[in-house]
Amino acid sequence: MSASVSTPAPALPLRPARRAPRRLVLGGIALTAALLVAGAYMPKWLTFLITMAASHGLVSLGIVLMMRGGVVSFGQGLVFALGAYAAALAYTRLGITDALGLALLGGAVATLGVAPFAPLLSRYRGIFFAMLTLALSMVVFGVLTKTEALGGSDGFNMGRVTVFGQKLADGHVGYVLYSVTVVVAAVLALLARVYFDSTRGLLTLAVRENELRVEYLGGSVRRAMAINFVLAAFAGGTGGALVVMSLGHIDPNFSYWTTSGEFVFVAILAGWQSVLAVFIASTVLEVVRSFSSLYFPNTWQLSLGLFLLFVIRFLPRGIGSLWIGRTGSARSAEKPR
């Protein structure tokens, strides 16, 4: 049929990426291997910076997962703290020292911790969702601050973890934790990409676009939102556990609203189209934070704010749009219209 009604201006495309799974896996493995090799030659400050960026990036990845459905959590510090406290407590109270086990435990505890709230939160959108998640994280912050058994506002320390039963020597601990973090982040990033490209991932994009039609097609919007919230919790909890293993210290600030704000910052910086962009954005934040703290210790947030303004002005869909948009255009040009 020919057009009878004027063609509207095109919307920003939400095309899901369609990379061949094998290419995706091989690319992910190659990048991870490259990072592992490069890590062996990096200065210690850089391996630590990337360890923090990858761990924090997992929390922001969870926010991106929710952003694809049209909501943003301002309280992701909650799952970050739950995962970190779970790992630290398992280490100090239960004697679990394996890094991978603690990372998975952190993710699992965060997931179980917030799962009861998922049905409630799935009913809310926009600022109400953001504020409810923020409220939950601040409640946990308050409880942690007042709980002396958990160290109160000072928190507590945890010792050095093991990897596959091996104790870590002083000279290698940084690199081994870097490697564990990079591998765990890579696996979760790959799973996130698979999820984004899956049927459920497509439904999440549909929810973002038009909830009413999803319901009229027989899909459950609330279930989709609840699942995304829970999956995001797992990623965030794992990130928290990885951070506490590297820092060796936990305190209630993990759940404070400014911590959550930084995760949102990274998610906005990355955009919701690319998984890789989340980790790049997280690294950018760590670099800006490190150098700004060094050179402008009292005004580093100013640098961060200016940087975010720049990104929102010139890359409104985030860093990921730099290459997702380009491949999308190339693909369109190849297809007959």
Partner: protein
């Protein structure tokens, strides 16, 4: 005689002082093509919205295949085999036509995998088959935001059919489409719909289309039913000529 697929019994709906539905009682039998006609505000879309669960009637009961669906949500009613299209197409403008179809397929088949790619071969084949029935293949990889209105209308209806419903409600399928394109478009829709056993209720303002495609007409006025008969008989009644088509006043002049 077949038992009714859809029964609306004594439906009432008010919006403040406005009576949108009053004592609406309708039986629709399997396979019927029923056109709902009436001037704007007569209560046609309110009726469709009550059948599909978007609005709850103040009184009355709606049955589908003998089952009371009055209290059910739109999603639950959809899953029982009631599909609808919208006066303003409800699509995903930033997704491609194929991805819109895949969303519809996924929702209605309840095959929401965490792992399988959304473009798995069997889902794409099903979507393509429907796109072909609606002559939408050439638009397959285009973003919906780039499509003209008529094509959007067709896609809206095609998406409704992905779950192979037993009852399809079309809310003004030809509105916003130019006069010369209405008829070919409706031909495409009815041919596509005819490929599966389906009962169709469609809201329509063009009486030529009604006469051509309906085998029964239900006319609404001020929330009431003023005619329920074959197209020829219904369109010939004084009430329909006075309140719907306006031909009685024209003839009097």
């Amino acid at each position: 005689m077949n038992s009714p697929l859809l029964r609306a019994i004594g439906l009432e709906k008010r919006f403040g002082a406005l009576v949108a539905a009053s004592a609406i009682t309708i039986d629709v039998r399997p396979g019927e093509r029923v056109s709902l006609i009436g001037s704007n505000g007569a209560g046609k879309t309110t009726f469709v919205n009550m059948i599909t669960g978007y609005l709850k009637p103040d009184a009355g009961r709606i049955e589908l295949g003998g089952r009371d669906i009055t209290p059910l949500s739109p999603r639950a009613i959809t899953r029982l085999g009631v599909a609808r299209s919208f006066q303003i197409p409800q699509l995903y403008p930033a997704l491609t036509v194929l991805d819109n179809m895949l969303v519809a397929t996924a929702c209605q088949e309840n095959r929401l995998s965490f792992w399988q790619t959304a473009r798995r071969p069997d889902a794409v084949a099903r979507a393509d088959a429907l796109l072909e029935r609606f002559q939408l293949n050439e638009h397959r990889e285009r973003l919906v935001a780039e499509l003209p209105g008529g094509v959007r209308k067709l896609l809206d209806i095609a998406m409704a059919l992905t779950g192979e419903p037993q009852l399809l409600l079309l809310d003004e399928p030809t509105s916003g489409v130019s006069a010369e394109e209405k008829f070919p478009m409706m031909e495409i829709v009815m041919t596509a719909v005819g490929a599966q056993p389906l009962t169709v209720l469609f809201v329509e303002h063009d009486m030529d289309i009604v006469e051509r495609h309906a085998d029964r007409v239900i006319a609404f006025y001020s929330g009431r039913i003023i005619a329920d008969d074959t197209p020829q008989a219904a369109l010939a009644t004084d009430d329909v000529r006075r309140y719907v088509t306006g031909t009685l006043e024209a003839a009097a002049c």
